[in-house]
Point group: C2
Chain length 212, copies 2
């Protein structure tokens, strides 16, 4: 038998206490602090905080959209399965179009990745949606392209593509895209579906503060 | 329109080339280098390599087990959905018991987390299996406890629990557990389902080298 904490509530309490001890959130809006705490918790890396960037309205925008029943559009199944459904205030649909049967052919047609092609299928759901990207830089780039072309505006973008090719660049594009579009992101190569899902889960916990 | 690489094969090539340029794998077994390359690729962090630990037989053990049709036991749905099924050489079953209906009650009964309780359901599948842990330290700890008590031995453990409570300790326990049990892990707080799935996916790609 090993000596370790077996009580899930105690694990959560100690985890969040550790994040809060190691990350200075005092100068920050409390709700945005909640987002950042859960993102750090998901990856075990307090050191990412200086590289995070966000719109000042990100927490409020996510909370309001979730309460209104907005869809949550995700770029991959890992993000979808990281979203804690019972946290969602309005049975919000979580939509992943990556494995739609038409995606591979559409990718060839538009000369882009499957992840980017999957974003094309978001069009009917984009207005007021929350976008959660945890894998593909091309999904984030292509979403911004659709928005440049006049596609309906989402409520918020949680942008955490990861990796060596295009991740840093796509997140830079997000952070400088539109001063009226709430977002949160992590600059650089780091990211991933756990951080992306954690950001959405944190936003969902904030809805509990709102009147029913 | 943004200027970015849209061809998925070119993205993969450039990604893996970047990892190989930034990580010195020359002193390493080529197959283990494949595992490490894919793990680094999944998280965008070449800096983790000095904290990786592995048994010298880990790549061979995974390859042989996969080719024999071993089950792959995972601690959470995110890992399951990160495993690229078409890479698996023998339609290997991927088993996640976390959301089995009995798990919450069993967790209370054994005084541990749901993730640990889910490991109890692995017992009939353990012999010769590959274990992939990408989230819960308690799952890894409890697995090692079952093995101490004489549960059937898996072929390999890919151990990447993440976070502030128990992750580092459980991976230390794994790395010092049994010199005859192949494993790969990342010491410290970092880890996650993307790294865990990447380790399995890399092992699966190695089976392509074997005679059919």
């Amino acid at each position: 038998m090993y000596d370790y904490i077996r009580d899930p509530d105690a694990i959560y309490r100690k985890s969040f206490a550790t994040v809060q001890a190691e990350v200075d959130l005092t100068h920050m809006d409390a709700d945005i602090g909640t987002l950042i705490t859960r993102i750090v918790h998901s990856c075990g890396m307090p050191e990412i905080v200086p590289d995070m960037a966000f719109h000042p309205d990100i927490a409020r925008a996510c909370r309001e959209a979730l309460n209104k029943g907005c869809p949550v559009l995700v770029d991959c199944e890992m993000v979808s399965h990281g979203i804690i459904r019972r946290f969602l205030p309005a049975d919000n649909p979580v939509i992943c179009t990556l494995n739609d049967p038409g995606t591979p052919a559409l990718a060839k047609e538009i000369g882009n990745t499957r992840s980017a092609a999957a974003v094309e299928y978001w069009r009917p759901h984009l207005a007021g949606a929350i976008i959660v990207i945890g894998n593909a830089p091309t999904a984030l780039f292509h979403l911004l392209e659709l928005l440049q072309e006049g596609a309906p505006k989402p409520a918020a973008i949680l942008g955490f593509p990861v990796g060596f090719v295009g991740a840093a660049e796509s997140k830079e594009a997000l952070a400088t895209f539109d001063r009226d579009l709430p977002f949160i992101t992590l600059h650089g190569r780091k990211g991933g579906s756990a951080m992306a899902a954690a950001a959405l889960n944190a936003a969902a916990t904030l809805t509990r503060k709102d009147p029913a």
